[in-house]
């Protein structure tokens, strides 16, 4: 039987990675509970909110309660890391890996670079913006300005995020930059369908991870986390809409 502190550290690390990279609350709690039980701990209890993790269990070796809390400050969207941790916990629970190997692999996952290089994500934002804009406006000519806008918005978001601490403000500025560029292209007469180009420009900013997680958290009974994520998604959408509204005001009034 391993020491309780080691098991605690392993479970918390797995939970920390899942929460940081955008998993839903239910999955984090479930993963930590299963890992704790598979390690032989009793009375495993977890509580996860959007910004913190609590884990407690009773060790059968020393018959004492262990409880720890972990504050999560940075949150990203990287679902491939969530998938890796999920796979790792499955292998641990079914007995394929020892806790030492799990710890090593968790460290590897944490220190690994992003699944895609950042230029590839910029490119995907451009292509996604262009292709999505066709679904809205059905004008083939406007796909190119929309793609350019999506590319610039994604680059702007990453650049602003490096310097600004407030997530919502960098989203506001990025959508403002993108919408300004789109409106400039409209003014130069390159665009037939303004609507389509603006949507294609700001669509890479959509807070998809908090939105879907909010719905799933609320439905699986994690009310605190669900409401918090819903608020995050709402404020994100508002800041994106605000950025576009300011750009529109400059040109239309």
């Amino acid at each position: 039987m391993e020491k309780a502190d080691d098991i605690m550290a392993m479970c918390l690390h797995a939970g920390q990675l899942m929460l940081r990279y955008g998993s839903e609350t239910f999955r984090i709690e479930d993963t930590m509970r299963r890992m704790g039980r598979a390690a032989g701990m009793e009375q495993v209890n977890t509580f996860v909110t959007t910004t913190a993790i609590f884990l407690s269990f009773k060790s059968p070796v020393d018959q004492r309660d262990h409880i720890q809390m972990l504050r999560i400050e940075e949150r990203y969207q990287d679902l491939s890391k969530v998938t890796s941790v999920n796979q790792l916990s499955r292998e641990y629970v079914s007995g394929l890996l020892t806790s030492r190997e799990v710890k090593k692999q968790l460290k590897e996952i944490e220190e690994a670079p992003m699944n895609y290089p950042v230029w590839f994500i910029y490119l995907a934002s451009g292509i996604g913006g262009g292709a999505f804009s066709y679904l809205i406006g059905s004008s083939v000519m406007d796909m190119l300005p929309a793609a350019l806008g999506g590319l610039v918005t994604a680059i702007a978001l990453v650049r602003y995020q490096m310097r600004l601490k407030v997530k919502f403000f960098s989203e506001f500025l990025a959508s403002f930059t993108g919408a300004l560029l789109a409106m400039l292209m409209v003014q130069m007469g390159l665009v037939m369908n303004t609507n389509q180009v603006i949507i294609g420009t700001i669509i890479p900013l959509v807070p998809g991870v908090p939105l879907t997680n909010a719905v799933r958290d609320l439905m699986s009974g994690d009310l605190v986390a669900g409401v918090a994520r819903g608020a995050e998604a709402a404020v994100s959408s508002m800041s994106i809409a605000g950025g576009v509204a300011v750009a529109l005001t400059i040109f239309f009034v």
């Binding site: 990287d78 679902l79 590839f120 949507i199 998809g208 799933r216």
Partner: protein, 150 residues
């Protein structure tokens, strides 16, 4: 017809691009693309049959979430990997833009009208997700309201 085929193709490309924006592993990206295409087909064909856009959004979101749950169970990965790109084509971007434009130009009544429709469509997407999630968790939920099993 050719227009519709082009739409579906572009929808596939857009969904995959969004899967990459959300950093989903490359081996799973394609499945999300197929779900996105199915979602868009439902969402754009139902209004042709005379049903409302909001209802179409709900059914399409239900489809996306339901198929995602199957795929996730089959491949043993988190559901979000598939459902997140799957519902991207449903985002009511055009209406949201109309809402904002109307408010900027001080046409408040029209803005409210468009805003209500945007919100309704967002709620419909959430409802579709919730229904599929509930269908899959029959018998696994938590206790509620009456403790009948004592």
């Amino acid at each position: 017809m050719a227009m519709f085929a082009l739409e579906l193709g572009l929808c596939f490309v857009a969904t995959i691009a969004f899967a990459i924006i959300f950093n989903i592993p490359l081996r799973l990206v394609w499945w999300g693309g197929f779900i996105g295409v199915g979602t868009w087909a439902i969402y754009s064909l139902m209004p042709v049959l005379g049903l409302s856009l909001v209802f179409a959004a709900a059914v399409a979101a239900f489809f996306a979430s339901f198929v995602s749950q199957w795929f996730a169970r089959f491949m043993k990965v988190p559901v979000t990997t598939f459902s997140l790109p799957g519902i991207i084509p449903l985002i009511p971007g055009s209406r949201a833009y109309e809402t904002m434009l109307a408010f900027v130009q001080e046409r408040y009544l029209y803005g409210l009208e468009q805003g209500v429709e945007t919100v309704l469509q967002a709620i419909a997407i959430a409802a579709g997700l919730v229904f599929a999630f509930s269908v899959f968790s029959v018998g696994k939920g938590v206790g509620q309201r009456y403790e009948t099993h004592r």
